[in-house]
C-alpha cells in the first residue's frame, strides 16, 4: 500500500521503520516548498513572509494537537522523543523530588526512558524503581500495582516496546496510577505512526513522540503535556521567544507552549511533520493499523516456521517489531548478509540493554514494519534467513 509514495523504497526491502520511517513525497515536497517559497523566522517579523511562516508553524501545532486529541497549547515542539522525556524530567519532575521519592519505569524501556531518570535520581536523591516483565514480554501487573506507592512521583512507561512490540494497556495503567494520584508520562515513539493515539482518552499527563518515526522529518518531536502541568513547570531552556519581558532585574516567561520553545524552532521540520500527519489522516489510522497487523501476523507465522529462529517475547498484543535470534548466527552477521540482498534490518541491543539482559542475549536482529511493507517483503526476509543460518553455523 502506498509504496509508490516513498521514493527511497528502491527495489530493496526496508524493515527498519522502528529506527526511522521512510518519508513520503508529500512530506519531502512540503519541506522543499517551505524553503523555496515560505522561509522566514516565526513570531518575529512584521513582513508578510514572516507572518505566513508563523501561521504555518502554529497551524502545524494545531494539526498535531487534533491528531492526538489535544489542544494547541498542550503541544510543545522538541527535537524528538528523547528531548521530550528530558524536558519532563527537568521541568516537571525535578522540582517535585525529595530524597527517597520514587520514579517508576518498566523493564522494557529503551535507554531514552531510563537514563534521564537515572540522572534525575543522581541529582535529587530520588530512587528509580523498575516494573518487571514476564517471559512473554508483558508487564507484571500485580508488581506494577505494588510499585505504585505514596512515594511515586511519576510513572514513565513506553506505549509500544521497540524490541518486543508489546503494546502496553496504557489507558488502564494510567487510570490505576491516577487513583493513587500519580502522574504518567507515556513514551509514544513507536506508537503514534502505528495506532490511533488520543491523549485525552488515555488521560496521559505527558506523551512524548518523534516526527521521524511517523513519516515526518528528523529533528522534530513533541511533548504533549496537560495544561495544568505545563503552566506550573519551569522553562527547559532559556533565551528568545520563551519570554514575555526581559529586564536585567527580572524576566517574565511567555505563556505555554512558547515558554518551552526557546530560540528559533525547527520550522521546516514542524511543517513537514504536519504534512506527515495529513498523510496519515488521509489513509486513516484504523486502516494503517489494520494493514500493519495483517503483515505482522503473516510475519510471525512465516518467521516462526524457520528452523532455529527464536522470536523474543510473545506479548498479548504486538505491534511494529519482531526481534529474533537465529541459531548461532550473530545479529551483525545476519544483518550484513541481509544487507547484501537489499534487506534492511537492525542488529544490536536496540538501545534497550536491560531488556536484552533479561532475555540473556547480548544482541538480536529486529525487523520492524512501516505502512509500505507488504507480505512480499516478509517472504524475501524469510527466504534469506535459512541460508544465513547455514553459513554461520558453528
Amino acid at each position: 500500500m502506498n509504496r509508490e509514495d516513498f521514493p527511497l523504497l528502491w527495489e530493496g526491502v526496508y524493515l527498519d521503520s522502528g529506527a526511522t520511517s521512510q518519508k513520503p513525497l508529500q512530506v519531502i515536497e512540503r519541506i522543499d516548498r517551505y524553503y523555496r517559497n515560505e522561509n522566514a523566522n516565526v513570531h518575529r517579523g512584521v513582513y508578510e513572509l514572516s507572518a505566513k511562516a508563523t501561521v504555518l508553524y502554529e497551524e502545524a501545532r494545531e494539526r498535531v494537537a487534533r491528531f492526538i486529541g489535544a489542544v494547541r497549547d498542550e503541544i510543545i515542539f522538541t527535537r524528538g522523543t528523547t528531548e521530550s522525556i528530558n524536558m519532563t524530567a527537568f521541568s516537571f519532575a525535578e522540582p517535585l523530588m525529595q530524597p527517597g521519592d520514587e520514579i517508576l519505569i518498566s523493564h522494557m524501556e529503551h535507554h531514552a526512558n531510563i537514563v534521564p531518570w537515572q540522572l534525575l535520581c543522581e541529582r535529587t536523591g530520588a530512587v528509580l524503581k523498575v516494573i518487571p516483565i514476564d517471559r512473554n514480554g508483558n508487564l507484571d501487573r500485580p508488581a506494577l500495582s505494588a510499585l505504585l506507592t505514596g512515594r511515586t512521583r511519576l510513572l514513565a512507561l513506553t506505549h509500544i516496546s521497540n524490541v518486543l512490540g508489546t503494546v502496553n494497556p496504557v489507558k488502564e495503567i494510567i487510570a490505576e496510577a491516577h487513583e493513587k494520584g500519580i502522574p504518567v508520562l507515556i513514551d509514544g515513539a513507536q506508537a503514534v505512526g502505528r495506532t490511533k493515539v488520543d491523549v485525552n482518552d488515555l488521560d496521559a499527563d505527558f506523551y512524548a513522540f518523534s516526527g521521524h518515526k511517523m513519516y515526518g522529518p528528523t529533528g522534530i518531536g513533541i511533548l504533549y503535556g496537560k495544561k495544568k502541568h505545563l503552566e506550573k513547570m519551569r522553562p527547559y531552556q532559556s533565551g528568545g521567544d520563551m519570554i514575555l519581558r526581559v529586564t536585567f532585574e527580572k524576566t517574565t516567561w511567555n505563556e505555554i507552549p512558547h515558554k518551552f520553545e526557546a530560540g528559533t524552532p525547527n520550522i521546516a521540520g514542524t511543517i513537514g511533520l504536519a504534512e506527515a500527519v495529513r498523510y496519515l489522516e488521509r489513509i486513516g489510522m484504523d486502516e494503517v493499523e489494520a494493514a500493519e497487523d495483517e503483515v505482522m501476523s503473516y510475519a510471525l507465522e512465516k518467521l516462526g516456521r524457520i528452523e532455529g529462529l527464536e522470536i523474543i517475547g510473545s506479548p498479548d498484543r504486538r505491534s511494529g517489531a519482531i526481534t529474533f535470534t537465529l541459531g548461532d548466527a550473530h545479529p551483525h552477521d545476519i544483518a550484513h548478509e541481509l544487507a547484501r540482498k537489499n534487506i534492511a534490518v537492525r542488529a544490536g541491543h536496540h538501545c534497550a540493554q536491560p531488556l536484552m539482559n533479561f532475555y540473556k542475549v547480548p544482541a538480536a536482529t529486529r525487523m520492524s514494519l512501516g505502512l509500505y511493507n507488504g507480505k512480499e517483503d516478509i517472504d524475501k526476509l524469510a527466504d534469506a534467513l535459512p541460508e544465513i543460518r547455514e553459513k554461520f553455523k558453528l
Binding site: P331, H332, K391
Partner: protein, 150 residues
C-alpha cells in the same frame, strides 16, 4: 574487492574454531573490551615472560568478524615482543581503516591477518574487527578503564 569476500573461508574457520579461546590463570596483562553499538564483549588475557608474549587468550561474545579477528590476533601475536605486538596493532589499524592491497609494501604486509582487510569497505563493521585489538592494546598498556571502540 568484492562484497562476498568479507567472510573469507579463513574468517569463517576462525569463527567456528576459535584458537586460544579460553580464560587464563594469572595473566600478566588483561583487559575487557565493549562495543556499545552492538553489545559485543571481549576479554583478552596475556602472559608476558621477560618481554615475550608467551600466551595470549581471549573469550567473549560477538559476530563472526569480531571472533575471527580475536582468534587470528592471538595466533599472530604469540611469541612476539610487546613492542612488536603494538606495531602489528598499528598496521592492523591502518588496514581496517583504509588500507588497500594495491598499496601493499613489504613494510605493511600482515600475512594471514590480511583476511580481515575486506572489513575496511564496511564502515559499520570496522568496530567489530578492531574490538580485540583495542582490548589488547588496553591490556598491554594496563589501562584501568575497559576498552571501547567508541
Amino acid at each position: 574487492m568484492k562484497d562476498q569476500e568479507l567472510y573469507q573461508e579463513m574468517i569463517l574457520d576462525h569463527y567456528r574454531n576459535p584458537r586460544n579461546c579460553c580464560s587464563m590463570e594469572n595473566p600478566t596483562h588483561c583487559a575487557e573490551g565493549d562495543n556499545p553499538l552492538c553489545g559485543d564483549h571481549l576479554e583478552v588475557f596475556v602472559k608476558v615472560d621477560g618481554k615475550i608474549i608467551q600466551e595470549i587468550n581471549f573469550q567473549g561474545s560477538g559476530c563472526a568478524v569480531s571472533q575471527a579477528s580475536a582468534s587470528m590476533m592471538t595466533e599472530n601475536l604469540k611469541g612476539k615482543t610487546i613492542e612488536e605486538a603494538l606495531k602489528v596493532f598499528d598496521k592492523v589499524h591502518v588496514m581496517l581503516t583504509g588500507y588497500h592491497p594495491d598499496e601493499e609494501s613489504e613494510d605493511k604486509a600482515l600475512g594471514k591477518l590480511e583476511a580481515l582487510s575486506g572489513v575496511a569497505q564496511f564502515p559499520m563493521r570496522i568496530k567489530c574487527a578492531s574490538l580485540a585489538w583495542h582490548t589488547l592494546k588496553s591490556a598491554l598498556k594496563e589501562e584501568e578503564e575497559p576498552a571501547t571502540t567508541e
